[in-house]
């Protein structure tokens, strides 16, 4: 049968297909319009991978508080979220670092005034393979390791083995924080990560490489570390030997040197549902979720 279709019928099929494609193409914009104008408008929330699990938990819990408000959460890194805020495609940008002046200027150039909220505190844990005998380092040593001045574990009291450096990609707020507070020791310096640093696209990328590589060193938010498979190092400030192990307590008391604020940014003063949502996050319900996920809630300070 199929082989014997007359020529003209085949043409009809072609025309039909073309028309159908055109029709479908014409339909699409209308559909999106109704989605935006409808009552179920979603709050777009994007950015930091450190914050993404907390943001997801908030969005989920908020469904029970206000079922009519939909919140769409995506990760991608602080830089990604901030870029989206500058380009006007999100309502809230999550960031594990403060917005840079240059970024604020770019936003203002696009007619967007970024408003900053500190929504949680995170301790950044420096992690190694559980078999690694090294258990404490100060920031001078960490800086030497990550700039490539120290390349063998034996120079910091470990085995005679090359150090494999793991870091997040440059779009990660954690990367930028680590650059400023560890690689540059919080000083005005031109030091940057050694070129042989492996840049991992996600937090999970770091932990899974670290679990199989006994010579690797990496960093990750406290909430992401699984102490059974990764060993957290006690860290001391530059020039000091007061090593502090990262915990929720040591981070909120300020003893642990690598504790930092986590931010949310909105485009302009938030109004309506957006403002209510942010108030809820900063309130006791929102902060309880922060504590549940291994981060440090604001109320502790």
């Amino acid at each position: 049968m199929g082989q014997n279709i007359p020529e003209c019928h085949r043409h009809r099929w072609l025309i039909f297909l073309l028309l159908a494609t055109l029709l479908l193409a014409a339909c699409r914009p209308e559909q999106t319009e109704t989605a935006v104008n409808g009552s179920q408008r979603a709050i777009q929330n994007k950015g930091s991978d450190t914050l993404v699990n907390v943001a997801l938990a908030w969005a989920e819990a908020y469904r029970e508080v206000k079922p009519e408000v939909a919140i769409a959460v995506t990760g991608g890194g602080s830089g990604t979220g901030i870029a989206a805020l500058i380009n006007g495609t999100v309502d809230i940008a999550n960031a594990s670092r403060a917005m840079k002046d240059g970024e604020k200027e770019e936003a203002r150039a696009n007619g967007i005034e970024p408003i900053e909220y500190v929504v949680a505190i995170d301790a950044l844990a420096v992690i190694v393979h559980p078999d690694n005998p090294v258990s404490e380092l100060n920031i001078d040593q960490l800086s030497d390791i990550y700039t490539g001045r120290i390349t063998n574990w034996k120079d910091v009291g470990g085995n005679d083995a090359p150090i494999v450096l793991l870091s997040r990609e440059t779009n990660s707020g954690t990367h930028v924080y680590f650059l400023e507070e560890v690689v540059r020791k919080g000083e005005d310096s031109e030091d940057i990560f050694a070129p042989q640093t492996l840049l991992m696209p996600s937090s999970v990328g770091i932990t899974s490489e670290l679990r199989r590589n006994p010579n690797a060193i990496g960093y990750d938010g406290l909430g992401y570390v699984d102490p059974e498979h990764e060993k957290m190092l006690a860290v001391a400030p530059p020039g000091s030997t007061d090593y502090v192990y990262p915990t929720v307590e040591s981070a909120s008391s300020g003893q642990y040197p690598l504790a930092r604020n986590l931010f949310m940014y909105t485009a302009g003063e938030p109004t309506g549902e957006l403002a209510t949502y942010l108030d809820w996050i900063l309130g006791s319900d929102g902060q309880a979720i922060v504590a549940q996920l291994g981060f440090v809630p604001l109320t502790n300070q």
């Binding site: 007359p6 020529e7 003209c8 043409h11 072609l14 025309i15 073309l18 991608g76 890194g77 830089g79 990604t80 870029a83 500058i86 380009n87 970024e103 770019e106 090359p162 494999v164 990609e169 440059t170 779009n171 930028v176 650059l179 940057i192 990560f193 070129p195 042989q196 640093t197 492996l198 840049l199 991992m200 696209p201 490489e209 199989r212 590589n213 010579n215 690797a216």
Partner: protein, 312 residues
């Protein structure tokens, strides 16, 4: 039916029939549009790339673009490590894929009995259908630990990327080489065998040289496939913007390719920033490289036709 008769009667009374047969006209023009749109879209893509990426070559001094440090958040835009990364991974992939692909194609086309071919060919087609991200994931989970256990500091190396890319380029190389071998006239083989050449001598001295232009195209397209691949490479090469030391050891160091850089960083940049233009600039460099490879392949096709046309 109607279309059939009109098609046959068209050449003699061309002008007279066209206005009456609107269907013919619509279809003809739609096909013409489809043909032109391919060219149009390519031109538009290139113009768009130029518009977005051109500022990079004006605003970043050339000496910076040719420096050895890529660290965009500090405005260090040295493209050399990325070029080196793409080059090492691609060359590694070609060195693995070409001998493997050619021998497989020769075996399939010249030596294997038909029943074996029936079994092997579908498998090669399946290999072509595996999404690259799946191969990348396989590389991350299975290959990387293997390479690490062989003594590399980390399993995420240029070589891991080369292996994955080689397997991605293999189906292209095999099927095009096989087509080229198939196109060699049977008389060539008969003639060689008739004057007493062994099967190996026939393949090596007669069939392969005759199919040379097709084989070159197969290799070129394989390279094109390898250099443009992104996701799999991003997973397994470690993405360190490092220029490896020259030599064999370079394969076992982490590298960052141009494609992975664009994919990893495009999401973070603000539109119109310098970093954004530089990423498009990398796109221009990639476009030029693949364009050059394709042009070379086309040149070899043209050359091959002329030569064979003269011989037969």
């Amino acid at each position: 039916m109607a279309a059939q008769t009109n098609l046959n009667s068209m050449p003699p009374q061309d002008e007279a029939t066209t206005p009456t047969n609107w269907r013919e006209l619509v279809i003809e023009n739609l096909i013409r549009l489809a043909g032109i749109s391919a060219v149009l879209i390519i031109t538009m893509i290139f113009l768009f790339l130029l518009r977005e990426g051109f500022p990079a070559f004006v605003e970043v001094p050339l000496s910076d673009l040719f420096s050895s440090r890529w660290y965009p958040i500090e405005d260090k835009f040295g493209l050399l490590p990325l070029l080196a990364g793409s080059l090492i991974v691609t060359v590694g992939a070609v060195v693995i894929a070409v001998p493997l692909g050619l021998t497989t194609a020769i075996y399939l086309g010249e030596i294997a009995p038909p029943w074996q071919r029936e079994i092997l060919k579908p498998f090669i087609e399946v290999l072509a259908g595996i999404p690259s991200i799946v191969l990348g994931f396989f590389g991350w989970v299975a290959l990387a630990p293997l390479i690490q256990s062989m003594g590399a500091p980390s399993g995420l190396t240029a070589f891991t990327g080369s292996l994955i890319l080689a397997y991605m380029a293999l189906p292209t190389i095999i099927s095009i080489t096989e087509d080229a071998l198939y196109a060699v006239p049977k008389e060539y083989r008969d003639g060689a065998l008739a004057i007493g050449a062994t099967q190996w001598q026939t393949i090596w001295r007669v069939v392969l040289p005759a199919a040379r232009s097709g084989i070159v195209i197969a290799v070129m397209l394989g390279i094109g496939r390898a250099i443009g691949e992104t996701m799999a490479v991003m997973l397994v090469t470690g993405n360190a913007a490092n220029i490896p030391d020259l030599g064999f050891g370079a394969l076992f160091q982490p590298v960052r390719t141009m494609t992975a850089t664009i994919a990893a960083e495009m999401g973070e940049v603000a539109q119109g920033s310098l970093h954004y233009s530089v990423l498009f600039g990398i796109g221009i460099v990639l476009f030029i490289i693949t364009f050059a490879i394709n042009s070379l392949a086309t040149y070899f096709v043209g050359g091959g036709k002329r030569r064979r046309g003269g011989q037969i």
